[in-house]
Symmetry: C2
Subunit: 146 residues, 2 copies
DNA sequence: TGCATTTAAGTTGTGCACAATGTATATTTT
DNA sequence: AAAATATACATTGTGCACAACTTAAATGCA
């Protein structure tokens, strides 16, 4: 039962705590694998977006895809530029925006990353059906609270 | 299909990205509600543990329940002590350990927090059955990767 | 055209997470 | 009992997240 009783304040009953812990667990799971590419987890997410992109992406577009604001993205992208993963250039047509492009090094990392999703899927020990089902439930939840 | 093909590196296909985003969304959902109690989300989790506890908890025990190490907990608990939420005292029997106890103020906040789980449950727009089902799937995943 | 408004990034400050290391106390081993 | 090991917590340093604010360029409109 869901009511304002004794049980509701128990840590173990909180969906948010499960998501918080799973997110941390995932991070820890990815960290050693990504270390081989010298990437942090958020940097990996940026790379995922850029590897898919067919043209330079503005910071704003990146932020929308990753649900991150410039307060997070600006320093993150600066660090990635320093690591020679990408370039940041002011758009000539609109000097407000900055275009993010992979460097050759950044592009070349894609090959080394291609095994990661499969490897991680195996670690979850989920069947493909269960994964799809879970994804669907999480998407629905995202839609409801996002 | 799961294989090392084109699709696997797509951001939208990553379970980890869903969890990462949902965790952030949850945080944002809780932030304004917790602000009324002057708590951050991790501080709220600490309070959930302490509100349930029948005796003072050692930092280590708290860390195990929350899956946080002392590098995170020590400064977090210090901030909470400063906010007059809890006290930190060296154990007389074992000077290595530190006992965490709620202050009266910390204890009194429990009443003000009692509406939060129910309120948050409503926001998710999930049925109780679906919530239980999702919780079960997430616990299973936790067990597999944790 | 001039000025207010909007838009795109960047900056500042706070609070986590966590790896790596340090410090002090307790326990175990010899 | 002395030395080695283990335990509990703290500290340092890096990298996010995000709120709040700033800066500069583009757009809208009187």
């Amino acid at each position: 039962m869901i009511s304002s009783g004794k049980e509701t304040l128990k840590l173990e009953n909180q969906l948010c705590f499960r998501l918080y812990n799973l997110s941390k667990s995932m991070n820890r799971l990815y960290a050693p694998v990504l270390k081989e590419l010298e990437l942090t987890y958020p940097q990996y997410l940026v790379m995922l977006v850029l590897w898919q992109a067919t043209e330079p992406l503005k910071v704003k577009a990146l932020g929308e895809k990753l649900d991150l604001d410039t307060g997070t993205l600006s320093p993150l992208l600066k660090r990635m530029e320093k690591l020679n993963l990408l370039s940041r250039n002011r758009n000539k047509e609109d000097e407000r925006s900055v275009e993010i492009k992979l460097t050759q090094h950044g592009q070349s990392l894609k090959t080394k990353a291609e095994h990661i999703p499969t490897q991680m899927f195996k670690v979850t020990k989920l069947s493909i059906d269960k994964l799809h089902n879970l994804n669907k439930m999480l998407d629905k939840l995202s839609e409801n609270i996002g």
